[in-house]
Symmetry: C2
Subunit: 351 residues, 2 copies
DNA sequence: AGTGCAAATGTCAACGCTGTCATCATGCTC
DNA sequence: GAGCATGATGACAGCGTTGACATTTGCACT
């Protein structure tokens, strides 16, 4: 990395480290009271046209910028920032969700503040606590800790809490989740219809709600065609790419290898694809979560709109701000199977 | 989308809409002055052990949570939020940058607040203004407007401004950019070494710094092998996927079609790949910006670490907070050509 | 018992803003 | 010309916190 030092020009010299102008400063310059300046800035109350102009000009001269900290404090410490607590920032899934949230909130003048727990359950409460001290207006979160009951007090104080992707535990809160179960069911059914019975399932451990639901959907769909024991096909390692890759090799090395593989999330998909190469004519593959270029790579996936998750969550926040005491709601975002080739291999039914 | 209403349980009933506890409330309950409570909460000053315990217990009972708005106001309106103003949240590139920023800032107790201009130059100043009213501690931005001189006053007030991916215009500010020129040069050189002379260049219009630099790198590399006029090969449409796709068809339909194509950014890559299918044995292809699965798709790209952009930018902020008056710095993040197959086609030199 | 000193606690004001209420000038009505 | 509504402005307090400074308490030492 190279680093260039541009020499400081005259313009860059910070001169007198001038202080930030306040209402009082502007008032002094314009020859009016701070309150009158406030009226001009807020556009409230009656101010004579001449005064208004003098004030505005003074404000411009002093580069006045109202202090929202003070304003918010004055108004009962109600801010217009909404926090989104996310597990892992590098997962594109969450970013699309964040994008959906940001857009929806921005329409209503709210800003999104992002904080990450780094997928560490222990740090969740600490992070949330920090945000609450900032008096965020609402809390959007992908719960990762085993228990969110610590938020009960805050909820009673009227801070909306909306959980994303997974419901809260031990806390009554709104939530937005995916149709995990039925989505996975659709994927597996499409395979069983094509004759597959030996279907590998590569995913993270089923502790998380989403993975659990998907696993159940997988089992259910196989049960429907009479397969009762799927344990040999289930590989629930901590599925980041590499370990998923290994799981696949593992599965293919069985004496009686699977004819199809399902990935339970995008990380797992990535690993599976690496392991399989492009040989979807030998082993069918369907992933959960869509991704960039899955399209041109011809990968079939269970897809949904991550931004929609965010939008709906943001809407829940907004409606909760209007109606703090309504019953909790859970919204499910639909998922659908997109067939692009990798999952279309037909096999003749055994026996 | 289905919506389930869970009936409100007894627990959900918000009961008395209790107010938020303050230092005074806690003090009243513990039988001490607000100041003593403050001392306990801050862990500063001497407090008798017994008092400390009484205060802490009272704070727990009342679910006291210090009001950082008030604290920050008291302390000269210095917050610990840093704003990141981004053009388009849905571009994975920016996510990764944001992730880098967030991680680095979090280490120093700073939070990142995200705001988007939706790639609209006109809204940049408005968005930034809103953030400054919140008294953000520093400003990280991907400049999109033609002029950032409106930030001069704020800079003088000591707010660090760091521009990402493109330098600021008409404003002296730190910045972190990519080695766009040399990166592109490397890519094109690898093609010219393989005999290519007719090299298509698909990118967005060259108004933006990055695209301009990349275009210049492309031209320079061709100039090195004696190609002086590249205008027939340049397709600088507003390169989202579809229009890039069209540009490629356009190029291939020339009587004398290019033997290689370069994409100037990830959106363009996406379009080019769609248009070319997988026929990299007929036309070589190198993209700028890496992406998920470029790897297994065998796409050669000029890559770099987007998170590193964010990290370095965050570090500039931190060092600027310590040293407000040093000369402005520009950091360049290295780029490198990653050969994966799509750009390896050799052609016999014409003539 | 008197002095000195540190530990423990409290009082007060101010950070910047705005809602409430008060004041004052103006112009109109009857 | 007294009475009154209206418009324009200002004084003041307080949002929750904490630094500066003041006061009180306890205890060791002469």
């Amino acid at each position: 990395m190279t680093e260039t030092e541009t020499e400081a020009s005259a313009l860059a010299a910070p001169g007198t480290p001038q202080a930030r102008a306040t209402l009082a400063d502007v008032g002094r310059l314009a020859g009016v009271s701070p309150k009158t300046v406030s009226r001009v800035i807020l556009g409230s109350g009656n101010v004579a046209e001449g005064t208004r102009e003098r004030v505005l000009s003074a404000a411009r001269t002093l580069r006045f910028r109202p202090n929202h900290l003070a304003r918010n404090l004055r108004h009962g410490s109600v801010t217009n920032t909404v926090a989104f607590v996310i597990g892992d920032l590098t997962n594109p899934f969450y970013f699309l969700v964040a994008a959906g949230i940001e857009r929806e909130l921005a329409k209503h003048g709210l800003m999104m503040i992002l904080a990450s727990t780094d997928d560490d359950p222990a740090s969740e409460e600490r992070v949330v606590e920090t945000l609450l001290k900032q008096r965020v207006r609402a809390l959007l979160m992908v719960p990762i800790a085993a228990d969110q009951s610590y938020l009960e007090g805050e909820r009673q104080l009227g801070t909306p809490v909306v959980c994303i992707d997974r419901p809260a535990r031990n806390l009554i809160a709104d939530s937005v989740v995916l149709e995990n179960f039925t989505g996975m069911q659709k994927a597996v059914r499409s395979l069983t219809r094509a004759g597959h019975r030996k279907i590998g399932f590569v995913c993270s451990p089923a502790e998380l709600y989403t993975h659990q639901q998907r696993l159940l959907g997988y089992r259910q769909a196989l049960l429907e065609v009479g397969v009762t024991d799927t344990s040999r096909w289930e590989r629930l390692e901590d599925a980041d790419g590499p370990s998923a890759e290994e799981s696949v090799r593992d599965l293919l090395a069985l004496e009686d290898p699977p004819t199809a593989i399902i990935a339970g999330n995008n990380r797992a998909s990535s690993g599976v694809i690496h392991a399989l190469g492009n040989r979807f004519d030998k082993v069918a593959f369907v992933g959960f979560d869509d991704f960039e270029l899955a399209d041109s790579a011809g990968i079939s996936v269970v897809a949904y709109d991550p931004a929609e998750l965010g939008r709906q969550a943001a809407r829940l926040v907004l409606s909760r701000l209007n109606d703090p005491i309504g019953p909790p709601r859970q919204i499910e975002i639909p998922t659908s199977l997109i067939s692009r080739g990798s999952g279309e291999l037909t096999v003749t039914l055994p026996q």
